[in-house]
Amino acid sequence: MPLLAYCLSESHPVVVPQRGVAEFPVETVEQGGIRCFFSRINNRGQILGPPARETALAFYEVINSIFRQLAVIPFRFPTILEDQTKLRDYLLERESTYREVLLRLRNLVQMELHLLRKSSSLERGHGNLGASRTGLEYLRARQAEQCGLADLSVALRQSARSFLGEWRERPSAHSLRCFALIERNVIDDFKKAILATRVPEELSVRVSGPWPASGFISEL
């Protein structure tokens, strides 16, 4: 019978949610100190058909309920395996890597900071940077916008430096996403530190988390 895999954790005591996606029971399997949470799926249509949003949220609820108790490595939705034998084979093959990752991330969570420009001069299409601008002007404007976001990232990182285990960034066209790895017990202090940072009027910061530290798993 196919399985929907939710996440992995260390084999520490944990309260397992009873029901998962589409009300299927949540089960666990252990291999070499690693525990995998999954549901047996007897009707794939219930997983992959509408309402998909509710299904994805139910998937998240299972992971989050375990993540509130200990560090997890989530699987991406929807990760479906053929049967429990395949799942065991997979865990057997990767158990040492997963064990190392979970040990490293134990007690750590990921906070995300999305740095945005409230109104991009590159998108407005008027004024000095409007439709008549040259390519050089466009590139200069873009560079200026990116510098502003990068400067804010430095300021935020500096504010929260006491709590940071690691900091990563991922730029996009008109924004910058920052990922902070912090101890689970300093989340409130981290938020206060971020809140105390001066943010230029034209920029904004959206902070979310705590999340499982997926952005800091490079071993997989």
Partner: protein, 77 residues
Amino acid sequence: MSSNPNIVFTGSDPSDETSLLDILDHVLNAGVIIRGNLVISLAGVDLIYVGLDVILTSVETAFRQMKAPALSPKSQS
């Protein structure tokens, strides 16, 4: 918590639309991907890879497209 108007905190409450987007983004774009023949197909479509390609626009649309026989899966790495 926020008194700085330029800094917004979003929680993990799915009833909050902003949080919902964050949650769906994480569920669909973060996490381990199992590659290879452990991933099964549905209607001849590799679920994981198609999901990664189209999921950013709309979850419902993505799942509809997953089921569409016209879609051809990307080759696995």
